[in-house]
């Protein structure tokens, strides 16, 4: 098993394997929890600033008093941010949902083939796919624009969908390959073959139904990475037809930015990915954690 890709197969045991401390009130244990809470406060600090600033009115915003609560709570900045970001907010869903679904599906098919079928040169192909996860965007983006123009994809969301699907295939393939290699018993495939099922049929009726944990991880991964991407977005689209990161940057990057509105905008931008993370994060963290265990 490789050490890099999130491995979804073993998330349950290590997470549930909590060892209760013997003496909950020992000095060391209390110190440990105090430290843990201290770090929680540090990690949440930027979130606090985002929230309080976004509810302040214009005259309350200055370098002084960044940490104080607003004197009068107002939604004006939220309205302003939504006006600026609303259209791109909806567009980004049109980008991130298809990207997540398509690349997961292609990844599942690829992963299945790579885990079962030892064709000549499989090692080389596998290493190339692995390295695919590490290729910097910069190395492909200039010719990419020409390819996109050649195919005739309209600028904006369709182009970005295409690009993110292509770029997401390596990691999705890898996740599924690890998943199938460790969970699908050979007997299952053989039983299918005895019943006369071909590769395609085996995949459709035997493999897909048991792939749900793999799909959860790849869908979260692809959804967040295409939602959060900025480099491809700024390169292949613009504020009028691009995703939300561009709109947010336009809102926040002006010469004299409206801080309250940009903070409200940053919160709006982060909401979907945070929601996905909070709702499905349990499995995702498990996948990430277990992915590092070398077996």
């Amino acid at each position: 098993m490789t050490t890099l890709a999130p491995d979804v197969t073993r998330h349950a045991p290590p997470l549930l394997n909590k060892k209760k401390s013997r003496s909950p009130f020992s000095a060391g244990n209390i110190a440990r929890h105090v430290l843990l809470i201290f770090f929680v406060l540090i990690v949440l600090m930027p979130l606090y600033v985002l929230i309080v600033t976004s509810f302040k009115s214009g005259r309350e915003i200055g370098v002084n008093g960044q940490w104080t609560l607003p004197e009068t709570w107002t939604l004006a900045s939220w309205q302003k941010a939504w006006t600026a970001l609303g259209p791109s907010f909806l567009r980004t869903f049109q980008l991130a949902i298809p990207v997540a679904l398509i690349s997961s599906f292609v990844g599942a098919a690829n992963g299945f083939v790579l885990s079962r079928w030892r064709f000549p040169g499989a090692d080389v192909v596998f290493t190339l796919i692995l390295f695919g996860m590490f290729i910097p965007y910069q190395a492909v983006m200039i010719p990419l624009r020409e390819v996109v123009q050649f195919i005739g994809l309209p600028s904006g969301i369709p182009t970005l969908t295409f690009v993110h699907v292509i770029y997401g295939i390596p990691i999705c393939t890898l996740i599924f390959r690890n998943y199938y290699a460790t969970t699908v018993p050979v007997e299952l495939i053989e039983a299918g073959r005895v019943d006369g099922a071909g590769l395609l049929r085996t995949f459709r009726s035997l493999i897909l139904p048991i792939s749900v944990p793999g799909f959860v991880v790849t869908i979260i991964w692809q959804f967040t990475s295409s939602w959060n991407d900025y480099l491809f977005a700024i390169f292949l689209s613009n504020t009028r037809n691009g995703p939300i990161t561009i709109a947010l940057n336009a809102l926040a990057g002006a010469q004299s930015p409206d801080y309250a509105a940009s903070m409200a905008g940053a919160l709006i931008t982060s909401l979907p990915t945070l929601l996905v993370y909070v709702l499905l994060g349990r499995w995702f963290i498990g996948g990430l954690m277990a992915g590092a265990v070398k077996s």
Binding site: P14, N64, F235, S270, A290
Partner: protein, 276 residues
């Protein structure tokens, strides 16, 4: 495979004499590369490389240290462990563009009575000597730029380490306890050596991320000389339609990533073969 075709295209482009929107004026071999190192205005490329080096070092050490501390604190189970883990990991879900908005505010360079953000906290607690101009400092600005990046990814490194700890068989701990090892000795001699592969993965992951770092820098400082790294330089070069130069910088980045990652992947592959 399309991606590899595109890389070939970029490599070809990086060897062309194509420095404006018009067609290439011919093949120039490695000229574009040598020019980056010897003939760039104000040594701009070398400057961005130096920045990248500082950023990578601070980012890598920061995430490793913080991730390790968190993992050590959580490793033997804590009350509400799930909550701590979720909080430490949540910044990962946020885009660099969104977090850049708030970090630009937190790393406000104003000091003393004009201080805001983190400097205001230092000022408020009487820790004035800790106040600093953050990313606007010409020498250390790049180190400050790594602070938000550490905030975002330390949780991920923690998850890797936690998984590493949980992957160590309990028998090892028991055996060490039997031999009368102190807690310090247990970690120093038994547990840490087992984590070497995890440290290596964490370094590879954070290292390759730092090569690509673009979103965060653009949204905190914009395209400024003080914080320019190669990834931002590529973008700036593209804005002037100097395609060949942008391609040359990109290929350089790719080569650096490949030099680090490929031996690692080959190693992982070999280890996998041995174990199966």
């Amino acid at each position: 495979m399309l991606v590899y075709g595109l890389i070939g295209w970029t490599i070809n482009l990086s060897m062309q004499d194509r420095h404006n929107a018009r067609d290439s004026k011919g093949f120039v071999g490695l000229d574009n590369y040598t020019k980056l190192f010897t003939d760039d205005i104000n040594d701009r490329f070398l400057h961005s490389l130096k920045n990248l080096l500082i950023f990578t070092a601070v980012f890598m050490i920061g995430t490793l240290v913080l991730g390790m501390i968190w993992a050590l604190l959580l490793e033997r189970g804590a009350r509400a462990e799930g909550i701590f883990r979720t909080v430490y990991l949540f910044p990962m879900a946020v885009s660099f563009v969104a977090s850049g908005v708030v970090w630009r505010w937190l790393m406000n360079p104003g000091q003393d009575d004009n201080s805001g953000g983190i400097n205001a906290i230092f000022h408020g607690f009487g820790l004035d000597f800790l106040q600093n101009p953050w990313w606007t400092d010409p020498d250390w600005g790049m180190a400050a730029m790594a602070v938000p990046a550490i905030w975002q990814l330390a949780g991920y490194v923690m998850a890797l380490f936690l998984a590493g700890f949980r992957g160590i068989p309990d028998e090892l701990r028991e055996a060490a306890a039997m031999d009368g090892a102190t807690t310090y000795q247990l970690y120093r001699r038994v547990l840490f050596p087992q984590l070497t592969p995890t440290v290596l993965s964490a370094m590879i992951i954070t290292g390759h991320m730092s090569m690509k770092m673009f979103d965060l820098i653009m949204s905190v400082s914009g395209a400024q000389w003080i914080t320019e790294v190669p990834a931002v330089y590529v973008w700036q070069t593209l804005l002037t339609s100097d395609y060949a130069k942008a391609a040359a910088i990109s290929v350089f980045l790719l080569i650096v990533v490949a030099i680090v990652v490929v031996p690692y992947l080959v190693n992982v592959n070999r280890a996998e073969k041995r174990s199966s």
